[in-house]
Amino acid sequence: MTRYLLRRLLIAVPSLLGISIILYTVLALAPGDPFGELASNPNVPPQVALALRAKFGLDDPVWLRYLHWLVAMLHGDWGFSFVSRIDVDRLILQRLPTTLLVIGSSQIVALLIALPVGVYSATRPYSVFDQIANTLAFIGFSLPTFFTGILFILVFSVTLHWLPIVYRADLAATGWRWYWEEFRQAAMPVAVLGLFQGASWTRYVRSAVLDVIRLDYVTTARAKGIAEFAVVTRHVVRNALIPVVTLVALSMPTVFGGAIVTEQIFRVPGIGSLLITSILANDTPVIMAVTFVFACLVILFNLLADVLYGWLDPRIVYR
């Protein structure tokens, strides 16, 4: 297992490098130089501007600038936010836990919906339950997250006054009260993301289970007299999950996209809303760093998927 994981880690390195090259190329191709904006600002004295140009290496060739940037990123020197006046890495570290909490719990919600519904639909294909679930799934992933978010606010905050509209990082309450408040304010963002993902995963699970459930080894398991529930949970689902894990890992970029939108709607102070505010404020170092963090998160989740493959199908590890 360790060797397998090491191999996957080594494969992830070129992907990260590729992403960083793409990011840097985009920035280098962009007309005008975004770092230069600060340096050409008339309020900045010329010596400071020159020092800044030298610090950012604006007069070097592109590949050299890329290498400098990469080395700085690896050293943890992520630059300085023009707007918030603190180091970018500290800014991101402040915001990251909230994002991970919201994304993580929404993925759990999505799995709790998709697994039982998808498996049950597949064991009774074309039944009434299956058809209703299928139609609801279609509606679920056709509803864009920004619209569901607005609908939720309209129903649960504006009309019913059950849940707060704005997410607060600094809750005043303590103890159990804190958990309850945290639950109340996280409920809508998590539900919006979770329902959207759950709807599309339900279809993946259903079709993967349908592919497996007709195989001979399942018939054998039934013939041995194993109870139907055990056949489905132990024999069918485990194998059906392999393609599902692939699709879930592939949909990670979409998940982060949805997270940015929900954070913006519910004003969750995570890195997604940080990205939007820094784009609106032309805060280039923060934009670069947040995009790169999102790329790292996508790669990290792909690695997690690899670990899951190893657990679901031990043959993959020993290949």
């Binding site: 992907s15 590729g18 992403i19 793409i22 990011l23 985009v26 920035l27 962009a30 007309p31 005008g32 975004p34 139609t135 279609f138 509606i139 992933f141 056709s142 509803l143 864009p144 920004f146 619209f147 607005i150 609908l151 606010i153 309209l154 504006v158 279809r203 993946y204 079709s207 349908l210 592919d211 592939l250 990670m252 970029p253 979409t254 982060f256 996209g257 940015i260 939108v261 913006q264 709607i265 990205l275 939007i276 784009i279 609106l280 032309n282 934009i287 947040v290 995009t291 999102f294 790329a295 998160l297 996508v298 790669i299 792909n302």
Partner: protein, 317 residues
């Protein structure tokens, strides 16, 4: 034409045999055969109907509903639906129906154009990768996998942030933003098509009819353009249909975040963005725009599902 997908089984080949005029067996063209199978999917037919109605509405609507989209009327701010304004008015008293009909054109056009970009790029990359062996194939597939793991929305936002102003100066504000948005949305959606086309190419190029063409001296170009490509387009049509929905959502997301079209071009996402701050007073404003996006996306997804059943009967998903 393209219904003779590479993945359809022997049946379509059998049906394509020239008709024997004496017998009762009637020749069914592949297009008609596809339509027959598509019709069986009732929700897909309903989706197609809704979609055609929406296209007709945004294409013809502005000629029938002649209220200007920027007619400011402060006496009718945020008014609910009435006979004068069937879908109500916005915060400047502008008619929401007129704005939605106009914005719908842009939203649907962006969806279609971005899909075309994605399908063309994906088909070229998939075809080159599928027909060439060795290092080119490996490199292109690495690129495809790399693009699949890129964080798309942050990059879309970054690209638009960096390139919006220069393009506006170059070709004008509306066209500039339109071109930029379809280029970046299409540029991040071609991977699925590339993979599908490559998979089709890999299986088709070993088939007997390609071997026959090769034996007859067909050049590689002719083999691809005449024989392999037309047969591999079935799954591409399905993926392309679903891509339209994805592109509409992507454009609405950008506009919703305030980084898509400027405020004077009321796409559905932009209307939603403008409406979200007055949800408590004027929910109708946001609801109509959101419902339009949802309805368009839902019906396109159903059409895609029906096409999948019709073109690719073996695949369940």
């Amino acid at each position: 034409m393209f219904s003779m997908a590479g993945s359809t089984l022997a049946s379509s080949t059998a049906e394509a045999v020239l008709p024997d005029r004496g017998s009762h067996a009637r020749y069914v063209s592949p297009a008609r055969d596809t339509w027959r199978r598509f019709r069986r999917h009732r929700l897909a037919v309903a989706g197609l109907t809704v979609l055609l109605l929406m296209i007709a509405a945004v294409a013809l609507g502005p000629f029938l509903w002649r209220v200007p989209i920027n007619d400011i009327d402060f006496t009718a701010q945020l008014a609910g639906p009435s006979w004068v304004h069937p879908l109500g008015t916005d915060d400047l008293g502008q008619d929401v129906l007129a704005r939605m009909l106009y914005g719908g054109r842009i939203s649907l056009a962006v969806g279609l154009a971005a899909m075309l970009v994605a399908v063309v790029v994906g088909t070229i990359i998939g075809a080159v990768s599928g027909i060439s062996r060795g290092s080119i194939d490996t490199a292109l597939m690495w690129l495809t996998d790399l693009f699949l793991s890129l964080p798309q929305l942050p990059l879309l936002l970054l690209l638009i942030y960096l390139f919006r102003d220069p393009l506006k100066q170059l070709v004008g504000p509306e066209l500039g933003v339109f071109l930029l948005i379809i280029a970046v949305i299409g540029g991040f959606r071609w991977m699925q098509v590339a993979r599908l086309v490559r998979a089709q190419f890999l299986s088709l190029r070993e088939k007997e009819f390609i071997e026959a063409a090769r034996a007859l001296g067909a050049t590689k170009w002719r083999q691809v353009m005449r024989h392999i490509l037309p047969n591999s387009l079935g799954p591409v049509v399905v993926a392309g249909t679903v891509d339209v929905a994805g592109a509409i959502i992507a454009e609405s997301t950008l506009s919703f975040l305030g980084l898509g079209f400027p405020p004077d071009i009321p796409t559905w996402g932009r209307i939603l963005y403008d409406a979200k701050d007055t949800l408590d007073i004027a929910p109708h404003w946001a609801l109509f725009a959101g419902a339009a996006i949802f309805l368009a996306v839902l019906s396109i997804n159903f059409v895609g599902d029906g096409l999948r059943d019709a073109l690719d009967p073996r695949k369940v998903m």
